[in-house]
Assembly symmetry: C2
Homo-oligomer: 168 residues x 2
């Protein structure tokens, strides 16, 4: 019961100082915890960054890590989105081999996934796709038989959902 | 001459093992180097991840860091995109206060920036926007007077552009 493994999305608000990211990532690797994805970038304020981190792990160990994260210098806030409603997005750039006979099919898939071709070379198309992890994995799987050269994914970013009630 | 500071986009292909990210990030913080943004996520292969890292620094120090990154265990490849053509994208989720009198203006900006409203609460809209860093900063600046509650940014991902020559 106590050892339920599940996916956690943590959102950390931190001061934008050298060393913060290193200390945070070190807390996870020190326990042999793999980080599935991580995004870090400044927020609306240049001196404050937000780190969105996805990890898979036992709930009680995550609780320990959260406590330690809260104690770290330069960490302003730790938000665990796991058990509350949130909006999440992933983005990927996928460079796929575009043989003349495959081009119509690639464009069809791009259309179905509401993706976009953002670069066209002699032999490759680069496709930008946004969605949840499953959607991105599906498109990668569908394009794999044509030959994927490279993939760059952002990892997940997320914000808590707001209440729907009360209008005006 | 030797000390020219510029923005570097590094793309690292790594084995998806606990500790890799920690060692990489540690190399930067150990030298007091700030990481402007960083994305890490699996590629088309689940056991291989790509890290896209944006940093601002002296060229010769970046060269040293690149050499050390290449020596790290679990680092398969280090690609410096700085001096070659590349496609780059950033994404952000922006939660903005949506007072009734501001809603039309917010939707107008969303339209101009080809952004999308992905969540509507009683008091807030959450907007998804894709583009380069400047575009995202511009939208944040334009929405700031209405009241931004939260921003989550992915940071930059990038892939090298392919040659345009030769068709078929």
């Amino acid at each position: 019961m106590a050892y339920k493994t599940e996916k956690h999305i943590l959102s950390l608000i931190v001061e934008n100082q050298p060393g913060v990211l290193s200390r945070i990532v070190g807390l996870f690797s020190g326990r042999g915890f793999n980080i599935e994805s991580l995004c870090v970038a400044e927020t609306a304020e240049a001196d404050i960054s937000r780190i969105t981190l996805v990890t898979l792990g036992d709930m009680d160990i995550i609780e320990q890590i959260k406590k330690q994260l809260n104690k770290l210098i330069n960490v302003i806030k730790v938000i665990d989105l796991t058990h509350r409603p949130f909006v999440a997005r992933d983005m990927a750039l996928i460079k796929v081999r575009a043989r003349p006979e495959n081009r119509a099919e690639i464009l069809r898939m791009v259309d179905i996934f509401r993706a976009r071709v953002v670069d066209v070379g002699a032999l490759f198309y680069t496709v930008e796709v946004i969605g949840d992890l499953e959607k991105i994995r599906s498109l990668i799987n569908l394009l794999t038989p044509m030959g994927i050269k490279e993939v760059a994914r952002t990892g997940t970013i997320a914000l808590p959902r707001e209440l729907k009630k009360r209008s005006k």
